[in-house]
Amino acid sequence: MLSEELKQELRKMIADAESSREKAVDVMLDIQEHHLWMSDEAMEEAAELLGMSPLELDELATFYDFIYRSPVGKYVIHVCDSAMCWLEGHQRVMDHISTSFNVPIGGTSPDGLFTLLPVCCIGYCDRAPAMVINRRVYGKLTPEKIDRILGRLARDNEFHPPE
């Protein structure tokens, strides 16, 4: 399922490392850039490139917050729910996104655009409440600001390379 071009790119990245396994997370993050999530097929092909068994790679994939082993939307919204964001109303942020953009908490909107997940402290406590979308962080969230950010993502195809 991975294109030859992507595989070449990943092989080169792996060749530069001390040991091939070292690049396991990078390889999965790169594949997700193209395919959004790590399907069983993607896991098998990635494991082969890394010289690991699919099970060994799954040990890592299931461990990390930002590797997805189930289908996700084009934009994965991780809302921080640790101390400072919790204190500043993370639940209101979750609820607002869920109702205004039709995203079930822990699920994906029917149009496949947004997935809504909680995440542990993302290190933006001075700008609580905060969220991270496809590795970009947004802080000091208000309903208006959320509407602006998600509204723009819904219109704009540039943020994420199209498949």
Binding site: E18, S19, S20, R21, E22, K23, A24, V25, D26, M28, L29, L50, M52, E59, L60, F63, Y64, D65, F66, I67, H78, D81, S82, A83, M84, W86, L87, Q91, V119, C120, C121, I122, G123, Y124, C125, D126, R127, A128, V132, R135, R136, V137
Partner: protein
């Protein structure tokens, strides 16, 4: 006295300092003198040792001692790891430092590597700091092109290069031995020493793991001398400045560089705008989520390793999370336990099973289903989790133990009222 700026002296609003700006402020002078001048690496270790620099990542281990722990006759290659995982709730100082003056961290890494003849450095960074990772990659290339990094640095014959390693994101990866497993592409469970990573770390080779802020202090100490560094501190046993990151119920949350040992009161009232209107200081966690609640009784404590230890607390990462009289500390502690229970790597039973149990008891108390005996059970659990494999669970128990020590009345009131007197919602 004017605020002495060392790590933040090139701080600009919304902009990263360039290599030229860093050099104009004295940057890379230490590298030129020590590596360019082929000064014995032992001298670097000696000066850092003498400066009293202690690890800024939470444990406060003397930096020079850690480098010294690499045996002189240890095999090569040797590795240095800069820990930019920074997942302790409340902590964001390293992110601000990386967005302020990345070359200060890069020069620190090169000099630290030189100190124990490391051949390669890994810059380990969490995924939510992707913008910092991109800055580092860009600036590392600039350092390479300037001859500060790579083969035979400044013609000295010493070669050292740095790669950025992106994490997939888990709190435990900040623990040094788990971090090493993460870099090697293994499941990041901690490994109980001995052998210590300084003897057998990455691929069984000597490896030193240092926090980003610790490394950033190194070039400044080498350039200005250990006594200068000691004199920056307000306390006699302390050394240097410290990046304090303050969040919660203050007017101006953020990160500021202040002398080590600055009193908590001054930090809150003078440097972070004081408490919010209508808010009174109730308690804070002085060094991240795995430190103990500090009450108004110690509002004037000097924020330094030894002074906090003297009152039974820890400086940790100097991430001060501030709570006011309207904050329910049972709900807050439940939130902290939710974090720790979720982030447990699951390797050992006391942590994997103990933390969710404690979280559950706190949830019951917060939501009106608490019983008096839960208090004793929680106290006992705080001790039991010390049987776990690494420091995660004992750290997680700190806020719980201190909640019961200083705010037992508040906990009992929840039980008596069958609900939260603050009407806080603990969430699931």
């Amino acid at each position: 006295m004017a605020q002495p700026l060392v790590l933040f002296k090139n701080r600009h609003p919304n902009r990263v300092a360039t290599l030229d700006e860093y050099r104009q402020s004295g940057g890379y002078a230490a590298l030129e003198r020590f590596i360019g001048g082929k000064i014995d690496p032992g001298e670097v270790v000696r000066l850092i040792d003498e400066s009293g620099l202690r690890g800024r990542g939470g444990a406060g281990f003397p930096a020079g001692k850690k480098w010294e722990a690499v045996p002189k006759n240890a095999p090569f290659p040797r590795y240095l790891v800069a820990n930019a995982d920074e997942m302790e709730p409340g902590t964001f100082k390293d992110r601000i430092l990386l967005h302020t003056d990345p070359h200060c961290v890069i020069e620190g890494m090169i000099l630290a590597g030189y100190a124990f003849s490391a051949t390669k450095g890994f810059f380990f960074i969490r995924p939510s700091y992707d913008s910092s990772a991109a800055i580092m990659e860009r600036e590392l290339e600039i350092a390479r092109q300037s001859g500060f990094l790579g083969k035979s640095i400044l013609g000295s014959g010493y070669s050292f290069d740095i790669v950025v390693h992106r994490s997939g994101g888990r709190y435990i990866c900040g623990e040094a031995t788990a971090l090493l497993n993460a870099i090697m592409g293994k499941r990041p469970n901690p490994i109980k020493p001995p052998p210590y990573p300084t003897e057998k770390g990455l691929w069984d080779r000597p490896t030193v793991v240092n926090n980003v802020e610790t490394l950033a202090c190194v070039p400044h100490i080498l350039r200005n001398g250990p006594q200068w560094f000691k004199d920056l501190s307000l306390t006699s046993k302390g050394a240097g400045t410290k990046l304090f990151c303050v969040s919660g119920k203050v007017n101006s949350p953020g990160a500021e560089e202040l002398p080590m040992g600055t009193p908590l009161r001054e930090i809150i009232e003078k440097h972070f705008g004081g408490m919010l209107p209508g808010s009174e200081f109730k308690a804070c966690l002085p060094g991240g989520a795995s430190t103990r609640f500090l009450t108004s009784e110690h509002y004037d404590v000097p924020m330094d390793f030894d002074d906090l230890k003297a009152i039974g607390n820890r400086l940790g990462t100097a991430a001060i999370m501030i709570f006011d009289q309207k904050t329910c500390l049972v709900a807050t502690t439940h939130n902290l336990m939710k974090f720790f229970a979720r982030e447990s790597c699951g390797w050992c039973t006391p942590c994997r099973e103990g933390l969710p149990y404690m979280r559950e008891l706190l949830w019951l108390i917060e939501n009106g289903e608490g019983k008096e005996e839960y208090i004793d059970t929680l106290r006992s659990m705080c001790k039991q989790v010390w049987n776990s494999y690494c420091a995660l669970a004992p750290g997680a128990a700190e806020p719980v133990a201190s909640l019961l020590e200083f705010f037992e009345d508040e906990v009992r009131e929840h039980i008596r009222l069958k609900g939260c007197p603050f009407n806080a919602k603990a969430g699931n």
